[in-house]
């Protein structure tokens, strides 16, 4: 049974104080968390905070804001790409961001060393355009009401409503939010690893009673089945056969924004943006002779298929790709659906276990028999 702490303060306040104490005590050198950017428009961005002032009441940091301006898995990769952290840094991230980071670590794009990973059970995030249109603030009261009831607000990203992995894997500390009716006055957090427990133990200013409980409460299970049902519905709404993909991606403008924001797409230069795809005029002309007409720029559906082949096994269904698509294509629903099938085929769950090899990196003698025959 996991060990935890019960703190007599609202969950958001308690976590802010915890982060404040971690910084002030010098137990961590920095905290990666969401925060308000400066300026009249007041955008939301991830920041690497080193000053504890950000975490006092009305400070800039907003650790559990239901918004994802970037998948933090990619940001943790950026932070640790060139080497492990020399000293501890905490990061408050959502479960899918954590899963994405685990997948990146497996690909040697980051390091878990010296990271204190704090996550929570997750009620989803609002699409970027809600933030862009200034609609985030007004939705927060009903968002938190839904989270308390173990429900999912209908305006969050479709893939969030359909997310069945909203209980974090591999967090050092997990904050219970979904289905916690008293989260305005009580904070329940689970110390999932020895590392998590060690950071919190004896921390000045942290007053809580230890508890031994289950993270997987009844509301969590209920939310899981609700989301699983919506997942079926959502996936049924997109067809992923070749003809359907050609039709759906017909309005793709080839901007590759889906790739740019995808945490799993880590290549510094995508093949489809490389010199290999800058063809001689003769190539276009012979294609033109063959087909009578061809789309420019080329490789619209080919790019999507290539990306599916490269990332689907590790797709964490975060929804960034849909949010940035200027052509309003439900990219993440398609990728999530295909990803789920591919992952089932390999009995693989992205982000679950950092020691488990990526299916395409391992070889089992008997598994290719069906291809061989």
């Amino acid at each position: 049974m996991p060990e935890g702490l019960k703190i007599n303060k609202g969950a958001q306040e308690a976590v802010r104080e915890l982060l404040c104490s971690l910084l002030e005590s010098g137990r961590v050198n920095g905290v990666l968390a969401l925060g308000r950017t400066r300026g009249a428009n007041g955008g939301v961005a991830y920041s690497l905070f080193t000053d504890s002032d950000a975490f006092v009441a009305d400070g800039a940091a907003l650790p559990f804001l239901p918004f994802m301006p970037a998948n933090a898995g990619g940001l943790l990769s950026r932070l640790t790409l060139k080497g492990s952290l020399a000293g501890p840094v905490a990061a408050v991230v959502k479960p899918c961001e954590l899963r994405a980071f685990i997948e990146l670590v497996k690909r040697s794009q980051g390091s878990l060393d010296n990271l204190l990973l704090i996550s929570s059970t997750c009620g989803g995030v609002y699409p970027l355009d809600v933030g862009a249109n200034g609609g985030l603030e007004e939705r927060l009261p009903r968002y938190w009401e839904a989270v308390k009831q173990g429900e999912v607000d209908s305006d969050v990203r479709p893939v969030c409503r359909a997310c069945v992995h909203f209980v974090p894997e591999n967090a050092d500390i997990t904050v219970a939010l979904v289905g916690e009716e008293d989260l305005d006055t009580q904070c329940t957090l689970f110390l999932d690893t020895e590392k998590g427990a060690a950071f919190v133990k004896g921390l000045e200013g942290l007053q809580g009673t230890s508890l031994s409980g289950e993270l997987e409460t009844e509301p969590i299970q209920r939310s899981h089945s609700q989301r699983a049902a919506y997942r079926e519905e959502l996936f049924a709404g997109v067809e992923v056969g070749m003809q359907e993909l050609i039709r759906t991606f017909g309005r793709c403008i080839g901007c590759h924004a889906c790739k740019t924001v995808c945490p799993i797409c880590y290549c510094s230069l995508c093949y489809f943006d490389s010199q290999d795809c800058e063809y001689l005029p003769e190539i276009y002309e012979s294609e033109l002779e063959r087909k009578g007409g061809l789309r420019l720029p080329p490789n619209t559906v080919f790019f999507q298929l290539g990306r599916l082949a490269h990332v689907s096994v590790s797709c964490v269904g975060c929804g960034m790709c849909t949010d940035v698509c200027p052509a309003d294509i439900p990219v993440s629903t398609i990728f999530s659906k295909v990803g789920t099938s591919v992952q089932a085929l390999f009995d693989y769950q992205p982000g679950k276990d950092v020691t488990e090899e990526i299916p395409l990196m391992t070889f089992e003698e008997e598994e290719l028999a069906q291809v061989a025959t």
Binding site: G30, G35, T37, R38, G39, A40, N41, G43, V44, A45, Y46, S47, T50, A54, A60, P69, A70, L75, R78, L79, T80, L81, K82, S84, V89, L128, D129, G131, A132, R247, T248, G250, R251, I253, G254, C255, H256, A257, T260, V261, S268, Q275, E278, L280, P281, E282, Y284, E285, G292, G293, L294, R295, L296, P297, P298, T300, V324, P326, A327, D328
Partner: protein, 383 residues
């Protein structure tokens, strides 16, 4: 500019007239292929299609309601590695033609075997507005463009003053034409030869067209200056820029769809900016926090300094911004001022050298002066 044009009958509208004319050109082998916007099979958008099969022209649309891909990018992909052997007519909007001219000067496109064909442009709808309901969007576009009402168009289309003939080979003038006909105006010897070989005499006076274009240009210039003055008040100085870009999520999609930002890999996505963790922490400690990923505003300023002299104010960046930041409006203001400083207009002519490539002995003394007066003395002292 030519003061005479050919007459093209257009009883069934401009689009049908242009498509019919180009079909004839294709059949007469005046061109080997066409590059033009064609409605996609699902009917919910348009894409550039290079075609030589005239049957594919059925869904061709010289003036689609949206600009999903900036046409200069399509031209550049086709010709970046040299002139092809086929003679291709590219039907693009004036700002797309101007971007194609910039890309040619930047050696990212080759126009020797390509004819730029443009039409007086009413603007385009923002892509997301159109995609909300493509059929309604198309109707709204047709209705508005009939009256040259730019209100539903992209914000930079609303303040566009270069909507008419750019340095294209052939331009279709729809303003000031008699009912049921439009002008086809040659802009180059290449264009003249096309009209000759299609037996289209260039004998119609263009006075009415020119007068209406001039009148609209003047009105649009005034709107542009007013809009820029309003915008400038909000974005002046580092604080103003931080405000306007405060929502930016660093997806760099503005750069990805920009026809002029042609670098295969942007510096801001390169290994040069992937730094050891201590670097980020040190920078954070200086200020208490470091936005992550860092360099949000630096990216926009860097991009502006690289491409602003060639910015054609097409609005592709703003359409592609997931955070609805008025990127194109900000860049149109910066572009007008930067280009004015160099007496340069992006896309105006293949013959005007790019300001940063040309060097004049007698320019920018105001930059030299501080060096001579201040820094040189200091250097001498320090030595």
């Amino acid at each position: 500019m030519n003061d005479k044009g050919a007459i093209l009958p257009a009883e069934n509208g401009v689009e049908a007239a242009v498509v019919g004319w180009l079909k004839e050109a294709l059949n007469k082998k005046v061109f080997d292929a066409l590059l033009m916007p064609v409605q996609v099979p699902a009917g919910d958008s348009f894409a550039y299609l290079l075609l030589q099969n005239p049957a594919l022209l059925e869904n061709g649309s010289p003036l689609p309601p949206v600009m999903p891909v900036q046409g200069a990018r399509a031209i550049s992909r086709l010709t970046m590695r040299g002139n092809g052997s086929k003679r291709i007519a590219a039907v693009v909007r004036p700002c797309e033609a101007r971007a194609a001219i910039e890309l040619t000067k930047l050696e990212q496109a080759h126009l020797d075997n390509l004819w730029l064909i443009t039409v007086d442009c009413p603007g385009v709808l923002p892509l997301s507005d159109y995609l909300d309901d493509p059929a309604a969007g198309a109707a709204r576009f047709v209705e508005a463009s009939q009256h040259w009402d730019r209100a539903p168009m992209r914000p930079v289309c609303q303040i566009c003053h270069r909507f008419s003939m750019p340095a294209s080979d052939l331009h279709v003038g729809t303003l000031g034409s008699a009912d049921g006909a439009v002008f086809v105006i040659p802009g180059s010897p290449k264009g003249e030869r096309v009209l000759e070989s299609m037996d289209m005499p260039v004998d119609a006076a263009l006075d009415d067209w020119a007068a209406q274009v001039k009148e609209m240009e003047e009105a649009q210039t005034e709107r542009r200056q007013q809009a820029h003055a309003d915008l400038r008040a909000g974005i002046a100085g580092p604080d103003g820029l931080l405000d306007v870009f405060s929502d930016c999520i660093n997806c760099h999609n503005c750069q990805r769809v920009c026809p002029v930002c042609y670098c295969r890999q942007c510096y801001f996505e390169s290994a040069a900016l992937k730094l050891p963790p201590e670097n980020y922490l040190t920078r954070s400690k200086r200020k208490g926090a470091l936005r992550f990923p860092p360099d949000t505003l630096l990216f926009h300023i860097g991009r502006a300094s690289h491409m602003i002299l060639s910015c054609v104010s097409c609005g592709a960046c703003e359409d592609a911004c997931p955070m609805s930041i008025p990127v194109a409006q900000v860049f149109s203001l910066l572009a007008d001022r930067a280009q004015e400083t160099f007496g340069y207009v992006a896309g105006k002519s293949l013959d005007d050298p790019l300001p940063l490539v040309a060097y004049e002995m007698d320019e920018f003394h105001q930059v030299e002066q501080p060096y001579v007066e201040i820094y040189h003395k200091r250097e001498v002292q320090d030595a």
